[in-house]
């Protein structure tokens, strides 16, 4: 009897997830069908990681330290930020396609199906190449953890894990936040790119170099400094700059909650505002 119950319960969860897994599996197969293109895709996503790192490295090639950190220290900031953003991009990056659906009126199809709109949008595609991006970030984290002189403790291991999980949360929230705004903007996706991709760029920087307005915008409103820079200050026992004391490194979960609250508010507003594509 118990066995029957659990099997049934298992069956229903699987049943509920089945439409999503079917869509995801078909999308993965579709990506592999143009083989040459797929290989170039995978190769270029590794190259993206390297070139973004090179942009940081070229600056440090000219000077010893920037914003109070050396290259090997900023490598940890870059690694964590890149890893979090790549994983968020893997799950939520597809929200970027919303403007295309809105313009073409194909979003209405999603409304017809008996599943939550946001979940459908997330599950409508998954880009395998983004996994290789995450691998670049992870490699940077590992190298930087070995190369830096870290005074390890249980608390610091916990901090690292907490920051990575919350950091993925913050980055994911940016995609949903941006998607919510698309319902109002139509064709103005570049406006939200300012904080999604500008935020990504900001998250890899030593925030000590920022001016005060930037600290307000990317330190707190879009809390990009919390993803990697502030936790790294804590890990390496470095002092924080003006307005960004290093104890804030423990507050990445707060930043994640704040980002998701804003993301869901904008998403709900957007969905309610939508009047259909006239299809």
């Amino acid at each position: 009897m118990v066995d029957l119950l659990t099997r049934e319960a298992g069956g229903t969860t699987r049943g509920r997830l089945a439409p999503y897994t079917a869509v995801l599996a078909s999308r993965m197969r579709a990506q592999r069908s143009y083989r040459a293109n797929f290989r170039i895709d995978l190769g270029s996503s590794i190259l993206i990681g390297f070139i973004e790192l090179a942009e940081v490295w070229v600056l440090f090639h000219n000077v010893h330290s920037l914003g109070g950190v050396t290259f090997i220290q900023v490598l940890l900031v870059f690694g964590i930020a890149d890893f979090c953003f790549s994983l968020a991009d893997l799950a939520f990056g597809h929200c970027d396609n919303l403007p295309t659906y809105l313009r073409a009126g194909t979003l209405d199809v999603f409304y017809l199906r008996p599943q939550p709109l946001l979940l459908q949008l997330i599950a409508s595609d998954i880009s395998l190449k983004r996994l290789t991006r995450a691998a670049v970030g992870l490699t940077c984290i590992v190298i930087a953890l070995i190369a830096n002189d870290i005074d390890w403790s249980v608390a610091k291991v916990g901090l690292l894990a907490l920051s990575v999980v919350s950091g993925i949360g913050v980055c994911s929230a940016m995609f949903v936040w941006a998607a919510g705004l698309q319902f109002f903007l139509i064709n103005g996706a570049e406006m939200t790119n300012a904080f999604v991709y500008g935020g990504r760029y900001a998250a890899t920087q030593p925030a000590a170099v920022w001016t005060r307005p930037l600290k307000v915008v990317f330190g707190f409103f879009f809390p990009m400094a919390f993803i990697a820079y502030l936790p790294v200050l804590q890990l390496l026992d470095l002092p924080g700059p003006e307005w960004l004391p290093s104890w804030l490194g423990w507050c990445t979960p707060v930043a994640a909650i704040w980002s998701w609250a804003m993301a869901l508010i904008f998403w709900r507003w957007g969905v309610r505002h939508y009047r259909g594509g006239g299809g």
């Binding site: 293109n37 942009e55 070229v58 010893h64 920037l66 790119n193 500008g198 170099v209």
Partner: protein, 268 residues
């Protein structure tokens, strides 16, 4: 011949007008440009300060000129590799384009140049003004750099279009070219000097960049326009741009003929 030129002129104007309908998109682009601009100011100014106020000939004022001119050109110089012609090759409509009494490559490039020139109005000029007002920058005080600079900007934009056309022609053989396009996007921005001026690159990387057409799309026009290059150097840079324009144009021409033959063999 005169009728032919008039057609291309009309395509240029059409491209320009087409872009003018996307006002909100232009505003969005400007906001993105400004955000990245201020982030670049923060990190590059810090680098100049860390180097003692002077870095490979850049001080803060000339670094600011580099930052805001590059942000201003970003909307016009195609560093993302996407073009309308790529879609037409993918879905086969290119076969119809070949039947028209127009050069396919010429028409595509001219339309894209028209669109790019329009972007200078809502995105290019305001980005530079933002830099002048909020950050301050050093600009030349004689007219010649502006005249040469304008020529260099137009050449840079056109090289961007002829190079992106090359990306699209890969579609004659590959069908799905998104991978090539993304590859182009990654490499072009870095080597064109979008985030860090190429004179801050280590020598080997700078030599590598200069062996590609990318610096001639953005870095050279900025060097000419900001007066970083003197008159003689500016003329050399413009000369290099003419070389890259001719080379990318010629390669595009032969790829177009080869692609057309492939289509005809397939009966497309």
């Amino acid at each position: 011949m005169r009728a032919g030129l008039r057609t291309y002129w009309r395509l240029l104007v059409a491209g320009f007008r087409q872009q003018s309908t996307y006002r909100l998109a232009a505003l969005g682009g400007l906001i993105a440009n400004a955000t990245f601009g201020f982030l670049k100011v923060a990190v590059l100014f810090a680098t100049v300060r860390a180097a003692g106020g002077q870095l490979n000939g850049y001080d803060q004022a000339s670094m600011s000129a580099y930052i805001w001119l590059s942000q201003g050109l970003l909307g016009s110089v195609n560093l993302h590799g996407r073009s309308d012609i790529a879609d037409r090759i993918k879905d086969g409509q290119i076969a119809i384009d070949f039947l028209r009494p127009l050069d396919v490559q010429g028409a595509s490039v001219v339309t894209e140049v028209g669109k790019a020139l329009f972007a200078l109005i809502p995105r290019g000029i305001p980005s530079v003004l933002l830099g002048v007002v909020f950050v301050g920058m050093s600009m030349p005080s004689t007219p010649l750099p502006y005249v040469l600079g304008l020529l260099s900007v137009i050449l840079g934009i056109t090289i961007g279009c002829t190079s992106v056309y090359l990306v699209a022609t890969a579609g004659f053989w590959m069908i799905e070219t998104r991978g090539v396009q993304v590859l182009y996007m990654i490499v072009s921005g870095f080597l064109a000097g979008l985030f860090v001026p190429i004179s801050l690159f280590p020598t080997w990387l700078r030599v590598l960049a200069e062996a590609t057409p990318f610096p001639s799309m953005m870095m050279y026009p900025i060097d000419v326009l900001s007066g970083r290059a003197d008159t003689f150097e500016s003329l050399q840079l413009v000369g290099l741009q003419v070389f890259w324009l001719a080379l990318t144009g010629l390669v595009g021409h032969s790829l177009t003929s080869a692609g057309r033959q492939k289509l005809e063999v397939q009966g497309g």
